[in-house]
Amino acid sequence: MSSSDRDQAPSRRRFLAQATLVSGLAVTYPAWADSFVDLGLPGGPSQRELTGAFPQKGRMVLQRSRAPLLETPFETFDRGVFTPNNQFFVRWHWAVIPEAVDVASFKVAVRGHVNNPLSLSMADFLKMPRVELAAVNQCSGNSRGYFQPRVAGGQWGNGAMGNARWTGVRLRDVLDRAGIKNGAVAVRFNGLDQPSVDSGPDFIKSLDIEHARDGEVMLAFEMNGEQLPLLNGFPLRLIVPGWYSTYWLKMLNDIEVLDAPDQNFWMATAYRIPDTPHASVTPGQTGFKTVPINRMVPRSFFTNVTDKTTVKADAALPVRGIAFGGDCGVAAVEVSADQGKSWKKTTLGRDAGAYSFRQWSTELAPPRSGKLTLQVRCTNTKGEVQPSEPNWNGGGYMRNVIEQVELTVA
């Protein structure tokens, strides 16, 4: 982009973009789609384009171009426990997202119920005591497309998740610098993205004060040893280990300490789950209590065998994948080849931390020709095991049923 483009008034720039959109009437498809992937969503539509059109991103599964929803191609998860930055999933609520961020002038406000309001630069963060943590970032609605009955929302397959080594500073240290006043109950976070319509609810989220000060919640300026891609929240992102991605505010530029519970739309109305086991209710059920979505639950996946594919008969079958405990570590990952009647313990890979993906692997006895269904389940270090029945709720949140692949042996 030339500097003259950048200097144009925003409304003029936006108009030019929209004029392009309108003049593109005859062009139904830009040359984005180089191939397609089938996510196996029951009842369809199941096919998605793969695109490499987004800045700093490699080939991604295109769910929506504006505001971007990009899913990690699932085969990426077979290559190791850390998801490459350029294939890390992307999810934005509103489409007004800065396309440029100047790190020299970027500032984060720390304000509200504090003794010393702050305006911190990126240099300030780089000079503070540094922490590093491996943690899974998973969309609340990861795997929503597999809900039955189907529910409205982003129709993700299983790739709205990723694991990275995050480097940054403790939120607690930042809050201590500002000095929290007595009576603080929550901390609210905002980023540079804005509603497309002025009166629309800005995307903001909050954490209880105890959670915000637990010493684990952090502000990250690096993922996997590099600065964050713009679409993953450059230059600073909130990291809430063990909690769903909705709390991991991107392009974080505002931290507000509250002296009353946060009643904003994104806490009080959106991202609510039934306050029931597995956040599950019966379709059509009403009158249940809801709470803001919060901690993650254990999951595990096959990464080297794919549903509806063929494997060799009469040869040992190596299987492997990834697992995570949710808000704690992985205690065990087991595989079943007999519809869950018996389970075989797998070997766990290196432990990169309680909040990280962990690889698992095992070798199954040579299968005979015919059909073979494999299942995998994770038990976390709190003893919580993946359920054999899928949960259901109207938001399409927190899916963690035992995964299975149906193979043909030949």
């Binding site: 929209q18 396309e99 990126m122 480097t167």
Partner: protein, 124 residues
């Protein structure tokens, strides 16, 4: 094919919306190559462009209402990948866009938008 009239209407509408929305999210004119270095880490300013969605909802005249009212806030993708949903479910989605997310959709356009959404087939 959309008529010239509807193209003009789209242009006028989008221009209005762009001005109306204020679009104050571009406060950071990145100085090229600006960096910040401390503690052994260097961060580089980023200036990029997101791809132009460049697509309309297919369906000719039947898609005029949705094309005129919905594309200012989001592209077609997530709508066209929804599963088959009931009229009530689609009506609720459009109501949510208007009431909760404040989409400036004329009430008169809502039935045509819902009709279009109900007519979507869950294809491949």
């Amino acid at each position: 094919m959309p008529t010239i009239k509807s193209i003009v209407a789209i242009c006028a509408f989008l221009l209005t919306l762009g001005v109306f929305a204020g679009l104050s999210a571009w406060p950071l004119a990145a100085a090229d190559n600006a960096t910040v270095t401390a503690g052994g880490v260097t961060l580089h300013s980023v200036s990029t462009r997101f791809p132009d969605p460049g697509r309309l909802f297919p369906g000719g005249d039947s898609a005029d209402a949705i094309n005129n009212n919905c594309l200012a806030c989001h592209s077609t993708g997530m709508v066209l990948t929804q599963p088959k949903m009931s009229r009530a479910a689609w009506q609720a989605e459009v109501d949510k866009m208007r009431n909760t997310y404040k989409a400036p959709i004329d009430a008169a356009a809502v039935p045509a938008i819902v009709d279009y959404l109900v007519s979507l087939k869950a294809g491949k």
